[in-house]
Amino acid sequence: MIGADAMIQCLEAEGVEVVFGYPGVAICPFYNSILNSGIRTILIRTEQNAAHAASGMARMTGRPGVCAVTSGPGATNVITGIATAFADSIPLVCITGQVISELLGSDVFQEADITGAVESFVKYSYLVKNVEDIPRIFKEAFHIANTGRKGPVLIDVPIDIQNAALSKFVYPEEVNLRTYKPTVKGHAVQIRKVIRELEKAKRPIICAGGGVLLSNAEQDLRKFVEKHRIPVVSTMMGIGVMPSRHPLYYGMVGNNGRAYANRAMNESDLLIMVGARVADRAVSQPGLITRDKVLVHIDVDPAEIGKNAGPTIPLVGDAGNIIRDFIEEDFECEHEDWLRLLDEYRVSMGIKRNPNPAYVDPAAFITELSEKMEDDSIYVADVGQNQIWSCTYHIVKNGKFFTTGGMGTMGYSIPAAMGAKLAAPDRQVVAVCGDGSFQMSMMELATMRQHNIPVKIIVLKNNYLGMVREYQHYTYKDHYSVVDLSGSPDLEMIAAAYGMGFYRLENMERASEAIDTFLSSAGSMLMECVIDPMDLVK
């Protein structure tokens, strides 16, 4: 057995079913050995998307997504995908091939110091120096990626190590990391303090973030808030913790969020942030959420607690564990007036749009699309104005909503949707992007075709990098610079070139039947929605 065989056996031991990647000589031993396994390989068309696809898969399965690329340019290309997963706390294991160990540091062809380069975007990285270390390192990597605050781990394996003979392969049962022991169980005293505050509170609210989804605790959260009738808002990464139309859910907070959600948060007297970072886009003025209220901050990463706002009650641990502990507590709280007030806000502070009837209205379109999507469908939103519209108007039923709220990397939606679809082939998966973000990942249409991954794609076409155009509209009084997307290809021809179905929707008149056609089509399909280039999210 050689190192490459050992790497594959490690992946098998971890239950990995799909590896996304792109080869080069330095990773060829790995891709040779993988042929002897049941693991499916997906040849993605650019390495960044291998990490995004692995991210989509990880978000569906709850296990680390895996990608494997070659040394040098392959490794550097994957960095943006790794950084995206890091910012969004998505567990990945990224394997990079490396030049021969002996030549490391001598700037040979396709050598890049990838462990050095990704240092600030990974939870941890390894440069394998001894073939016998492979089982231990892989075991640790999967463990680190998927415990505590989740995130990417990179393993750099020189080609000579991949080819070296291994004396024996034993996959460790357990990891033995002296220095890494994340706290997952909430402190009982702190938990009781929170309950005491809940008993006292007149205007409690829970703000749920991506951490709730990462700990697979949506059902627990729902159970808890329904039991005590506690209202919930979410961050962008937390969308999907509650069905959008759940009576206790009051939308997304933040500078792109719902006005009534922000107001609810600001007027609360007890704010419980759970699995949320109190990041700048969600809470632009951390001072406001500590003034006049009790702030409880629950996070598995102690470094997040107190980073942006000093909580009254810090509570370190896994969101799911802690919410389940809350459910066990016997207590009463009463705040029907508060809920009535929030319901009034929800009605009176809704968004009033004035859509141009000559175009597709993204708000009405996304609402109708999501109403027609299957109950457990997966909606993947890209970045730009389209992301804000998706966050605002997509109605999550019992499915999932994925986007990159932490890094905001354009081009995320298509590869991430592919990863999600591969993880859940029976579920409807729709990626929604802008024409700029679409063109950043357009090459993956070939991957979809080659590997038969029938993702449905919607392009909200405005011929602009809309979000930046909107910024230039407000900040530079319509002094537009490098935001015009003229020269973009005819999407109908693109769809035909990749053998995809196509539909162009030019206004709302036939939106309903267009959506039906789109959703019921058998394979992958591309739908272009022509929207008003001058439309604004704000």
Binding site: E119, K123, L127, L177, T179, Y180, A303, G306
Partner: protein
């Protein structure tokens, strides 16, 4: 702004120092000095970092460092319950006439003269920060040709908070 001395016990992996230094520079934390050396158990390295910042920053430093996978333990070495030491080597320009005066100052501080040349000498001094600073300021009037400080290293007093090695 206040100063704090942190002591870290870290796994002696390759790249551990760059991970720690990288964290400080990336997040804009100050490092006033950093010293590192292997412990009685060669699998671990003990690092002493002197840093400064306001309360929030200092709390973040402690938490972010603790989060690094290789870091086994981090604690503050407070002035009252710890011993700090720094070693400094000072090369002074000294004429034969000045030499005696310099040696006299060095004696008071229990510093050693470790090298003498016709026009210079090297003094070695060990002490805590204030002793080293006081000594250097007393040398005012002499030309310091070169000065090398190790940065402080330290240990907490007593055995209450020892982080024991385990296997």
């Amino acid at each position: 702004m206040q100063k704090k001395v942190f002591q870290l016990l870290v796994d002696n992996t390759s790249g551990v120092l760059s991970r720690i230094a990288g964290l400080f520079s990336r997040r804009g934390y100050n490092i006033e000095s950093i010293t590192a050396g292997v412990t009685a158990d060669p699998r671990f390295t003990r690092i002493t970092i002197v840093t400064s910042g306001d309360d929030v920053i200092l709390e973040q430093i402690e938490k972010q460092v603790a989060k690094l996978i290789d870091v086994r333990d981090i604690k503050e070495l407070t002035a009252t319950s710890s011993v700090y030491r720094e070693l400094v080597l000072i090369k002074l320009r000294t004429t034969p006439e000045q030499r005696q005066a310099v040696i006299a100052i060095a004696d008071v501080f229990r510093a050693n003269i470790v090298d003498v040349a016709p026009d210079s000498l090297i003094i070695e001094l060990t002490g805590n920060l204030s002793k080293v600073d006081a000594f250097i300021s007393l040398l005012d009037g002499h030309e310091i040709l070169e000065l090398a400080r190790t940065g402080i290293t330290g240990l907490s007093r007593g055995s209450d908070d020892v982080a024991y090695f385990e296997d």
